[in-house]
Amino acid sequence: MAFNYDEYVRTETIPHMWCPGCGIGIVMKAIIRAFTALQWDKNDIAFVSGIGCTSRMPGYMDMNTLHTTHGRALAFATGIKLAHPEKHVVVVGGDGDATAIGGNHLIHAARRNIDITLIINDNNIYGMTGGQYSPTTPAHMIASTAPYGMVEPNFDIARLAMGAGATYVARETIAKGIMLEKYIRTGMAHKGFSVIVAESTCPIQFGRRNRLADPVELMHWVRDHGVPKTKAAKMEPDELQGKFVTGELVRDDSRPEFTEVYQQIIDQAMKKGD
């Protein structure tokens, strides 16, 4: 029997607003499969986003959903998690939302190691606003604000998250949906701040400008830029130029989680008050 995605979807909101060939659908399906595998009660999940194409995802999902301001999803999510540390808080966003305007919140959520899962649909572009370059647009690629090619060096989001202290970091392309689902599931189950980067596609705003308008061709292009962790370990740095490493990159259960540490403060302070 085919997998039933409807359980976690507000079916009355479908069809969605994403363009034909967009990669977000694969990420959404991976997220739903992960929820199903974990058997999380929909009432116990807060699904939060900022602004952008990817950030429209919570509107389609049947749970406690929050579509916030541009870049601020993690800050809203931090408030929710502190209000109810026992509940599941999952954040989804695009590369621009999560790493440009929201970059500060990303590094500080990682530093705190708060038990929130962040899934980034990295399609290398600002889709909703018309194809402007983002912090992950690769060198020389064309964007509506990079007509001569991307001039700034791009972020490696996974390395950024690891450097800031995220205790679970994984990356996979949308060409490998099953692996993506597995990492999302593991990240959600992980106690601490987890980041899963889904290397994704935007055929309309990114592909069209870069002779990659065919969604399948673009998916192959993304897939071919990913190098599995074990293979990458044997490669020279110049061979890895322009590529990104995929797989489970960090899984650290040794660092304390923020809300658990704060609970100890509460226990201590309340005892003192007695």
Binding site: N43, G59, N64, A75, T78, I80, A83, N104, Y262, K272
Partner: protein
């Protein structure tokens, strides 16, 4: 009787009002509020967090409130500016929360440690778009306590952010104050839905225009967005739906002015000159009016505790009664414009405006009143 600063008083009152979550970012002259909350909250099982910036602090309290905790943040001028986008989110998504702004001189970094009252218009219109807002301006220590509690109650009752506007003078002034017995404090909680989840419309119109609010994790699973939305909470650009909800949000404040507005009047009955002042300058004005009365001048005081919505109707009545309204403010003329607009040609409106970071003293008001009497 215990000695408190205005900032400490806000923290004590917030805890008494049921605040259980605070997110903030340090900024003078408001920082003692965050410092005190970081101490008090864990003692009552609440949580404090110092966020990475002002925007995050505002965002976090909205998240905390949606998840069911009464939430507050505190800041000063430049920080208040940074919070404005998310303050707008709280108005459109109708999320109760309290924002304290201990006003300092601006614009920009301005006068970090000196008082001003120059954010009253920012409080009204700082975020973009049309939206109602409630802002309170206490003058005395016990009033700071009462108005902080009232800020939480109004936020809960009307599903709206409420701004507590203090100035540096009262924030850092220490006064002995007797606090009410905890049992005497009236606490209002948000109205909860009574319908089954599948029938719940978090943004529906109701008789009082305030829809019941389910918290996250209570089984209602609704959508909250800063986009214009329908009664279910889902994004829409349908003209009629967007218009109706915008108007409904305005109505929930406009139709409850009697409940929201609060002011103090002294010697207004036979007054020919009125002094209208708020915050720390309300204290100067009180002294000035008493002194002038002792000298036989027919002067009265109107001191708004709710500055937004502005007590328009009462001020219009006063304008018909008196010849002159004097508005002393630590800004170059903000509320005086509101008074002029309302008074029309019924009364002469004169501002006393001072922005150097020094408060307006009673004698400056006394001498101005004598000049125009």
């Amino acid at each position: 009787m215990k000695l408190y600063s205005g900032n400490e008083m806000v923290a004590e009152a917030a805890i008494a009002a049921g605040c259980r979550f605070f997110a903030g970012y340090p900024i003078t002259p408001s920082s003692e509020i965050a410092e005190r909350m970081s101490k008090l909250l864990p003692e009552v099982g609440g949580r404090f967090i110092q966020m990475e910036d002002e925007l995050a602090s505002m965002a976090a309290i909205i998240g905390g409130s949606l998840a069911g905790r009464k939430s507050m943040t505190a800041t000063s001028g430049p920080g208040f500016s940074l919070k404005q986008e998310n303050l707008g989110f709280a108005t459109i998504a109708e999320v109760p929360c309290v924002i304290v702004n201990v006003m300092r001189g601006g614009p920009s970094t301005g006068l970090p440690t000196a008082p001003s009252q120059s954010d009253v218009m920012q409080a009204r219109w700082g975020t973009h778009g049309d939206h109602p807002i409630i802002a309170l301006t206490p003058s005395y220590m016990r009033e700071i306590f009462d108005e902080t509690v009232r800020a939480f109650n109004l936020a809960e009752k009307y599903r709206t952010p409420v701004i507590l506007l203090l100035d540096e003078v009262i924030a850092h002034l220490h006064e002995g104050v007797a606090l009410p017995d905890p049992d005497e404090i009236e606490i209002v909680d948000r109205k909860k839905p009574t319908v089954p989840p599948e029938e719940y419309e978090p943004f529906a119109d109701t008789e009082d225009h305030v829809p019941p609010m389910a918290n996250f994790f209570e089984g209602y699973r609704y959508h909250v967005t800063g986009l214009s939305h329908n009664q279910k909470g889902l994004p829409t650009t349908d003209f009629e739906v967007v218009h109706a909800i915008q108007v409904r949000r305005q109505k929930k404040i406009d139709e409850h002015l009697e409940d929201i507005l609060k002011w103090e009047e002294i010697d207004m009955d036979d007054a020919e000159i009125a002094v209208l002042a708020y915050g720390s300058i309300g204290r100067s004005a009180t002294d000035a009016v008493r002194e002038l009365r002792n000298e036989g001048l027919k002067v009265g005081l109107f001191r708004p505790l709710t500055i937004w919505p502005f007590p328009e109707q009462r001020v219009a009545e006063i304008a018909k009664q008196v010849k002159t309204i004097i508005v002393p403010e630590m800004n170059l003329g903000q509320i005086v414009l509101e008074v002029e607009r309302i008074a029309k040609s019924d009364a002469r409106v004169i501002g006393i405006n001072q922005v150097g970071g020094v408060m307006i003293r009673p004698r400056e008001i006394v001498s101005r009143v004598k000049e125009v009497a």
